[in-house]
């Protein structure tokens, strides 16, 4: 059913070379609205390169990117972010020394009205209310918004990173190996959050290695191999045929 609508993000003929090394060769890529997509491939298949192009870290050597149907070129990660693409890195890009509020509003803290605005004084109360609204909406339980985030568990930290994404209204979220550092229970909690993201109208691109987890969470998988796209699999559920086909594509 997801295939019926127009892709939110569409890339055609993307190539990227690093000197003589071919990272990506004529790769097409599409992401549908409200979709959870897994990007699969061995080490060096080009997943990271593709994701870095999507998030604006570097431009492709050739090919076009269309976002919401319009052709775009990202000059910086900031520009991609402004257009609604957020990357949640393995290290979560959190500031361990700062509290939950500062992390949600990182780099874009809100100042007070009136005289406070003139002096650029931050509006803690407003930010607290906004953070609380978002975290409550996502069912994330954090005991103190004023504690530095280094005091939180891996799962809680991930929740904070996701809350930040939701708060800023990003439409596409890229997650690089999000389950790498998590236990089984925390991974399941993360999958709930990813489904919540979907409910909020967000599309998610997941880079993952664990195929069982891919079957558990993703709706579609794109497989890369040595810089080329070798296959696509709509995931119908947790069944052997699906598993076998993905393995076959990866081999």
């Amino acid at each position: 059913m997801v295939e019926q609508c127009n892709p939110i993000l569409e890339m055609k003929g993307i190539s990227k070379y690093f000197g003589h090394v071919v990272a990506l060769e004529q790769v097409d890529f599409e992401l549908f609205p409200n979709e959870i997509l897994a990007l699969l491939g061995d080490n060096g298949a080009g997943k990271s390169t593709l994701v870095k192009i999507i998030s604006g870290i570097y431009p492709p050597d050739s090919g076009t990117i269309r976002l919401y149907g319009k052709e775009v070129q990202f000059k910086s990660p900031d520009e991609a972010r402004r257009m609604g693409i957020e990357t949640i890195y393995q290290d979560l890009a959190l500031f361990d020394n700062l509290d939950v509020l500062a992390n949600i509003f990182a780099g874009k803290e809100v100042s007070k009205k009136g005289l406070g605005k003139l002096l650029g004084i931050i509006d803690k109360k407003y930010m607290y209310q906004e953070a609380e609204k978002t975290l409550t909406k996502l069912g994330i339980d954090i005991d103190s918004y004023y504690s530095p985030v280094k005091e939180f568990s891996g799962g809680q930290r991930q929740s904070i990173a996701i809350a930040k994404t939701i708060y800023w209204g990003h439409k596409i979220v890229i997650m690089d190996e999000p389950t790498a550092a998590l236990g089984v229970r925390e991974a399941n909690r993360l999958f709930d959050l990813i489904r919540d993201l979907k409910k909020q109208g967000v599309s998610v691109i997941l880079i993952m290695h664990n195929i069982e987890q891919v079957l558990q969470i993703a709706e579609r998988a794109i497989v890369l191999k040595r810089g080329r796209r070798v296959g696509t699999k709509v995931i119908t559920g947790y069944e052997d045929s699906c598993y076998d086909e993905i393995i076959r594509l990866l081999m």
């Binding site: 990660p77 900031d78 972010r81 990357t87 890195y89 290290d91 890009a93 959190l94 500031f95 361990d96 020394n97 700062l98 500062a102 990182a106 780099g107 874009k108 803290e109 809100v110 100042s111 002096l119 650029g120 004084i121 931050i122 103190s144 004023y146 280094k150 005091e151």
Partner: protein
């Protein structure tokens, strides 16, 4: 629920370096009053305030640099060089306003060089400022020509003798600096970004924070602070000495670290650093009052520095395990 909240905020208060330092200062002052009859009087307090004025101005910049994850070893040499340039400007016949502007521009130039090398070229701040520290000290000796420069107008020297409502003028400048910048660094949307840069430069960059510009600016601000301190110094001493500001960098960095800054960045406040300056000055004052030889000051200051960092290390360990 309310009691839990109250306890949490109390706990947070006890964790705050500023509160811990204030209590420590109170205890030390109390002990000093008992140890020496000369401690608790207006004259002695005025002396302490004058003694901390220069460092008070410099910690404003140094705290920003440290919070942003950098370090600046060149503050003492910058102080010395700007003081010499100021004295030479007076010697060349310039009036106070022009001479002060020359000294401040000199400070800006030094800060720009540090900032460019560290933020835009990408050289390690420790190495860069170790280099500029050596260069500007040498330049100070060359400019001063080996002798104190004492051709300073009386009107300029008068500033340091004056006071505002009983507070020495020198300290008024320091007080204004720390009050303004303490508020800015804690609560201003722009200056607060130093905590993000110091917390994780990579994440700050990804969050769209202009990391290089902020780092550059912190070194310029620090050098300007050193230049302002140079103006205060020349006014107070009535001379610029070739060795003016020698060792200032170590004392200022120590004070900042005692005050809660971390050399890896992301931590500290200007108020905390100021309390660190006061703590070191108070200890020195007491040592003098109770007749302990000045040679021992370094031993005590060093031990306080290590104690402060040690308490951090112990707290951090408890958090990790």
């Amino acid at each position: 629920m309310e009691t839990i909240k109250a306890r949490l905020s109390l706990q947070r208060l006890a964790h705050s370096r500023e509160v811990v330092l204030l209590i420590t200062l109170g205890v030390i002052a109390l002990a000093a009053s008992i140890l020496s009859p000369y401690f608790f009087n207006a004259m002695n307090f005025t002396n302490i305030l004058i003694a901390v004025s220069l460092d008070t101005v410099i910690i404003v910049g140094m705290t920003m640099v440290l919070v942003g994850g950098g370090i600046d070893l060149s503050v003492g040499s910058t102080l010395g060089f700007c003081a010499t340039i100021l004295a030479r400007s007076f010697g060349a016949g310039f009036g106070s306003p022009v001479a002060i502007v020359i000294a401040l521009v000199c400070g800006i130039a030094i800060g720009v060089i540090n900032g460019l090398l560290i933020a835009y070229v990408g050289i390690d701040p420790l190495i860069t400022t170790l280099g500029t520290m050596t260069i500007w000290r040498s330049a100070t000796y060359i400019t001063a020509g080996g002798n104190p420069l004492s051709d300073i107008p009386v009107s300029f020297k008068a500033f340091a003798q004056g006071n505002l409502l009983g507070i020495p003028n020198l300290f008024v400048i320091g007080l204004i600096s720390i009050v303004v910048f303490d508020i800015l660094l804690k609560s201003n949307t722009f200056f607060r970004k130093y905590y993000f840069v110091g917390g994780s430069e990579k994440s700050a960059f990804r969050a769209g924070i202009k990391v290089k510009w902020l780092k550059f600016l912190s070194y310029v601000i620090t050098a300007v602070c050193s230049a302002v301190a140079a103006v205060l110094l020349v006014s107070r001493m009535g001379s610029a000495f070739p060795h003016s500001g020698l060792g200032t960098e170590m004392r200022v960095i120590s004070a900042c670290v005692i005050g809660g800054c971390s050399v890896v960045g992301g931590k500290g406040t200007i108020l905390g650093s100021f309390l660190g300056v006061v703590l070191l000055a108070l200890i020195n004052n007491i040592l003098v009052l109770i007749g302990i030889k000045a040679e021992w000051q370094g031993v005590v200051s060093g031990m306080i520095l290590i104690l402060a960092v040690l308490s951090d290390a112990i707290m951090l360990r408890r958090e990790q395990w």
